[in-house]
Amino acid sequence: MEAGRSPNIEILSNADFLGLDGKAGDFTAKVRLRPRYIDADKCTACGLCTKYCPRHLVDEYNEGLALTRPIHIDYPQAVPATYFIDPDACMHLQHGTCKICVPVCRSKAIDFDQKAETRQINVGAVIMSPGFGRVPEEALTKYSYGDHPDVVTSLEFERLLNPSGPFMGEVRCISDKRHPKNIAFIQCVGSRDLGCNNGYCSSVCCMYAIKEAMVAKEHDPDCEITVYYMDMRTQGKDFDAARTRAEEQFGIKFVRAKVADVMPWERQLKLTYATMDGKHHFEGYDMVVLSVGLDSPADAKNLAKTGAFDLNHYDFCKTSTFAPLASSHDGVLVAGAFQGPKDIPESVTQSSAAAGLVSGLIKKQRGKGVVTKTYPDEQAVAEDDEVRIGVFVCHCGINIAGVVDVAKVANYAGEMEDVTYYAESLYSCSQDAQEVLKQRIKEHRLNRVVIAACSPRTHEPLFQETLKDAGLNRSLFEMVNIRDHCSWVHANEPAAATDKSMDLVRMGVAKARNIKPLPEQTVPVTTKALVLGGGIAGMTAALNMADQGFQTYIVEKNGQLGGQLLKQHYTLQGDKVADLVKDVTGKIKKNKLIEVFTDADLSAVNGFVGNFTSTITVGKKETSVDHGIIVVATGGKYHQPETVLGAKLPDSKAIVTQNELEKQLAGKGKTRAPKSAVMIQCAGSRGDDLAYCSKTCCNDAVKNALKIKEINSASQVVVLYREMRTYGYAEDAYREAREKGVIFIPYAKDQMPKIDKKGAKAEVSFHDPILLEDVTIAPDQVILSVGIVPEDTEDISKLLKIPINADRFFLEAHVKLRPVEMPVAGVYVCGLAHAPKPLDEIIVQAQAAAAKAAIPLVKGYVSVEPTVSNVDKDACIGCGLCESLCPYKAIQIHKIDKKRKAETIVASCKGCGICASHCPTFAISMGGFTDEQITAQIKAFGEMREE
């Protein structure tokens, strides 16, 4: 993981957060570092100690499904990659005996004299991200968890599915190792359950159950899987599609039922469940998976006391709708599952947002604490200089050397032309190996380095860093993967694996002969931002950019800022929307760094990350502005459905939308609440006009139903729904609505209610699955929960060359890791333009977009990867194929001396090579992967080795 390499992140692991004094901008935190009993600088993570340690210990990392030793590391890629000794289990630390590990460790890393150390650390702000905890035992034991080994939690099941898990990724019953023929998933275990004081919905378990079920099916297609649920809450972007795939492609069954209990029954488990109609059923299963919820962390109360902030009634960090990441303690922010149960994409979004907020909070101190690394001057390597290649072959402990004859490979390399130096190393990636590498480069005046080891994906940056430290251009490097490609895949054929390693090294050396230094380029940026759209997302992003010190333009097409919020009145949590709009627009007006263009159109955008020039048109007046980044916050609007419940919607005044009802209820009239109302969920969504779930309409229905009840408790409200997706804390309101007499009746997709016009009224007919009867009612009002559609994304997609998905929302660069970035560098997205979501999530996403967008502006430049495309102007015929194919808008046709020629915008190029592979005249070459280099490599492949 990247975090382990940054010179500006100090990882204090095995540590406790003990105190916080001072105030925002100037805190003193107290942290205790517990001893690892192993010297991190010496430990090479070879694993010998674990092999010798005589004592067994239950492996928590594998959810107790495997054994480890007191001295261990959880998994090989752990950061920090230092072993540690569990003091509660170690025989020496407990009883003063043993100490076998001390002589075993070749690096002399074991140090039983280490003591706990307490540090006082001065910081400007704190971000709390302690994640989530385990649900109470009693939520599990009621399903025979603990009584029968084949009842497992979803986390345990996750380990079972993992190739590095206890059965190497095979799904087997814990009891007798047989492959289960059928598996049941029970949803909402420890969630939506007041019995264990977890009234909220954990938001992620429906989705991960679908994922786990699908992965299990991939492992064993004959295994039957049934998911027992109350509501499938797959409200996230494209999540419903996953559920459909699970059902249609994988044959996973979904049964809406409440599981009463699970009993051991011969070799199996007997599940008793009740369907909606109140009937009880029994079914036998080989394995039962409990989809456990996310609880608050076990030490939440302590943390809150130490950090002096408040918790909510479920012991998660308390925050508000309008400031979702601010704890009650100024300068202490929160991100991730501790803010409320959530998945990885949302956790990551919150983290970026929190980082951006901190960046605004303590901007005066920006850059004061950071370490900037300096490198020696780069040694010049000219075209006709003698080629001096150094080859280093890595043992990777026993990872490679256990199969491949490393000495033979190294000696073979030594005989090759131009190889001036060769060596073996135990762990090429270790700290001391970097020192050795640096020395050898200097001693032997090496000007090309080939390392035969593991994957360039993980280690290339490290080695290139060492090259730079040795004064060598980092492109003068070639990596050969003899671990994944040889010792791992040919583990049982050591001779063949060694042969293949030699072939690969020969090819690597052949390529290395032809590599040339590539320039390290940076492009300066204009430190200004442009935000497109002046709704709450755009305004929030703009304010945060300005807070961080950057001048920002807002381009809004309407006459006024506020967007959709101008049509809304109150939130589910009871906040007044008008207060927010007033507060934010007021702040924007006062902020000298923000310039607002209303009634405006972004008519042209030219340039690239760091250097955009745009034209803003207001009426007839055109203004040209320079800016470094663009935040797209063009929002969405309520969908006006034509098809509802699979039929054409009748035209009747008695039929209104939730938003229209909200306006009516926010008024003053005594009779503003209908005496009887039927709300129709998913009206126009999830299969009617729109394919997707709009995420917010269930909350809106509950909000308005509660409002009706508040105004007139005698009003009758019926909500017809597919699934109530009141995820997270909104589950509280859903429960309250039921307690107050709102009637919720589910309908199935194949048995949809019908709306007809009946005089001045509208009539709704539906099947009641509880009474098993067909019912027809003619309420005062029929209220449609219509979905959300994006606003004009097609035009903007063309203007900025950014992609949209099938539902016309903008498609982010990576759903999990880069949720607010667009594939085109320098363009960010947030709010409804990205996907439907409630207000608090919009605010967070806007803050996250502002944080990410600020990164190039803070740096003042964008650095360009050396591997970019390069156009030979003489060979280019200006056909424009490359321009039309580049996914990043990084190659463009310009007129040069009246001729059309392609030109790379290095700041945007990602080095994917699509252009080079399509150019009809081979005019494009990729730095680091030239035709010359690749051909040399292929030729070397064909050469025979002399035995």
């Binding site: 957060f17 942290v31 991200s129 994922k211 980082a355």
Partner: protein
């Protein structure tokens, strides 16, 4: 790489080294701040390090 020096108020403390904490730390350094990442257990990564594949993209975790 132990750094005993105090980085002063230009530094930020992140408590909890799961996917949320790690992402916050990375973004903070990019925004020009020094980060102390405090993790209770022996390694960072949190729950995500235990997961096999993760939705929505179902590629592997780290």
């Amino acid at each position: 790489m132990a750094q005993a020096k105090n980085k002063g108020a230009g530094a930020v403390m992140v408590v909890g080294g799961g996917v949320a904490g790690v992402q916050a730390a990375l973004d903070l350094t990019e925004l020009g701040y020094y980060v102390y990442l405090v993790e209770k257990s022996a390694a960072i990564g949190g729950a995500m390090a235990q997961l096999d594949k993760t939705f929505p993209t179902n590629d592997c975790s780290l």
